[in-house]
């Protein structure tokens, strides 16, 4: 184990996979000479050269298409979106080519591509650069969607994504690049896609959250513990395929669930999780599933409005109190 940042963990995963498999290459804006807008590809150009670390023009649809074509003929591209909001420009390539090529070719073509970059709200990135982009992708059959919350997950899941024979959408976060954590140095440390993690064990309520919201839920859990409310936190890690079994097992234990997501709630991950829980654990529920979501509005630039739009610790605490029927300071 070594302690490293989330950014370093991603960098290590890329380096290890590029060493392991010479079909792996990185393509995107500023990934080479500039070493990445967020320095995730630091040192890779020097180590692997310009054939495998490819700088591109500002042309998301174009270089994503290049990546898909390369994947179809046997390479394993890692496409970097400077921020995932820019993937909107490549949406047709991702949704209509990457996701469907295996199906439409009758299995003749695999598209082992990883499209990665930061998404979600950060610090005053405003309306166009703060979106929770996962919602645009996990709806599409054929795409896998990963949201890694910790440095260890960043490494283990990115390696699994690169080794996967299908297109994987891998969305990081600007706010997490500098967090530190223990990361296994074993080059064969891989976290299979589709496995949730219980981040905190508890008895009274299951809070399902990922990325920054998972850390906010942790803070809420600490505060709720003082009032005797025991919160279990489950991080799905992979949104598609979803590890429903781990989530349901937790809900069957605690009998209540709160889903937190940074994006606007309508038809979001919270809606999906709420539906899964209600369909499959109905008789175990002691309260309706609650969603804590972003306000349905574009992200404001102003710091105070940005805070108001994004789910807060206080709103998570309120939701937990509602589903545990614990009002005021009274413990359940």
């Amino acid at each position: 184990m070594a302690v490293m940042t989330y950014r370093e963990a991603l960098n290590l995963a890329l380096r290890e996979e590029m060493k392991r498999d010479d079909r792996v290459f990185v393509i995107g804006e500023e990934v080479g000479l500039y070493e990445g807008a967020y320095k995730v590809t630091q040192g890779l150009l020097k180590e692997f050269g310009p054939r495998r670390i490819v700088d591109t023009p500002i042309a998301e649809s174009g270089f994503t298409g290049v990546g898909i074509g390369a994947a179809m003929v046997g390479l394993r591209p890692v496409v970097e979106m400077m921020t995932f909001n820019f993937a909107l420009l490549a949406l047709d390539q991702i949704v209509n080519s990457a996701a469907k090529m295996n199906y439409m070719s009758g299995g003749q073509y695999h598209v082992p591509i990883v499209i990665r970059g930061p998404g979600g709200p950060a610090h005053q990135l405003a309306a166009q650069h703060s979106q929770s982009m996962e919602v645009y992708f996990y709806h599409v059959p054929g795409l896998k969607v990963v949201r890694p919350s910790t440095p260890a997950d960043a490494k283990g899941l990115l390696k699994a994504a690169i080794r996967d024979d299908n297109p994987v959408i891998f969305i990081e976060s600007e706010t997490l690049y500098n967090i530190k954590g223990e990361v296994p140095e074993d080059p064969e440390f891989v976290i299979p896609l589709g496995q949730a993690a219980v981040r905190r064990e508890g008895a009274d309520v299951t809070v399902i959250a990922y990325m920054g919201m998972m850390y906010r839920a942790m803070e809420a859990a600490e505060e709720l513990a003082k009032d005797g409310i025991s919160v279990e936190i489950v991080d799905p890690r992979t949104l598609q395929p979803l590890d429903a079994a781990t989530i349901l097992a937790s809900v069957r234990k605690t009998h209540r669930a709160v889903v937190v997501e940074a994006g606007a709630g309508f038809a979001g991950m919270g809606s999906e999780l709420s539906a899964v829980i209600t369909e499959q654990a109905f008789d175990d529920l002691d309260a309706p599933v609650e969603r804590v979501t972003g306000v349905p509005a574009p992200m404001p630039y102003a710091r105070n409005l940005e805070r108001a739009k994004t789910p807060s610790k206080e709103r998570i605490i309120e939701a937990v109190r509602r589903v545990t029927y614990a009002n005021g300071n009274r413990s359940h």
Binding site: F282, D283, L285, Y325, H332
Partner: protein, 454 residues
Amino acid sequence: MAVSKVVMPKLSEQMETGKIIKWLKNEGDRIQSGDILAEVETDKADVEMEAFGSGVLRKILVPAGSTAPVGTLIGVIAEPADDIAAVVSQAGGGAPEAAAAPAAPAPAAAPAGAGATEMASRPAAVPPQPRREDPAARTPAPAAAPTAPARPVAPALAPVQPVAAPSDGGGRIKASPLARKIAAQSGVDLRLVQGSGPGGRVVRRDVEAASAGGARPAVAMPAAAAGAEFEDRPLSQMRALIAKRMPLSKAPVPHFYVSSEVAMDRAWTLREQLNALEGQPKISVNDFVIRACAVALLDHPGVNASFQGESIRVFHRAHIGIAVALEEGLITPVLRDAHAKSLAQIAVEARDLAERARARKLRAQEMTGATFSISNLGMFDVTEFSAIINPPEGAILAVGAVRKVPVVGEDGVGVGRRMMLTISCDHRAMDGAMGARFLQDVKRLLEEPLRLLI
């Protein structure tokens, strides 16, 4: 005609799932209340599952060999004309609304009781006891009948719930799905539970509180206005179960009664002497009666017996149920192997059982498996009474107060102590003379009480 749901019963506190060993009835068979529907394998023993409702076994939802969680709908009993589609389609769903449920109250649940002044029943008619001494038993169940929940909540008998007809109307009960599931498993009647959730929703803690301490009266219950002619009090779980169980004994079991007066002078004197001994437990008159019955039962196995339909099961050990009155009903803890215990042992155990019965602290196995029961109303200065048999037991002894009465002796009239005993017997298993001979022996043992010490 009501549709009855057959659900996987909770046969022990730990039980979470049960396996259907085999169905003893097929789809289409006509079912009488009390019929054995299936054999269920639990973590501890194999148990026969009895039907509460009558009708036709319309649907088997969990086939033999399959395992289902407690509370799962496993079958449906209804008349051929009844529409069961709605019930079947909600298989695995929550418990039904019971807003205007027809006849029966909550599912089998609280410790079964007898009439207000008589014996309580054991929580269940079927489970372990029948197999306990059966060498062919599939599972060598431990001697202490294991299958029954610990709290005085024992739905081992026929977990069949009446389903209110859809047209019944009435107020819908707001309850969380979990609360409904727990209520169905523990036999709590949601109508009697006051919900503490938003809008009065009944949630888990409400059901658990009701299950632990008897249902809180619903807020909706109209308070008795000053000067009102009457008030309707909701049934406690225990009262509801007693009301349901007792007709199941009194009606189908043909009772006969035999009474005898016992001279208690010597027993009284002996008891005073024993109780004067330092370091010895205090012994009650009832302890003498328990000991006398236990000894006599071994000599009269025909009375220590249970009618089984095709046979009569005769017990070789005397497990005596002792009725204990509670605030809202009564309960019958079982003093096991009373024939092999001394008066002092019986005194200590009986007091412990009674105290824990009043505190609702009995363990499951302490509430099942009696072969004979005793109900004593002497403390209420009752001269004599007769009790209702607690099936599947074959007899019960009703004990009156020890009274001082004028007695004609050789030298004139003196003062004697007398006590009335009345035994209620199941005429299907025994006859008047058998009951009389047993009573005669009990009388002899009490009148020559030194026999109880050897």
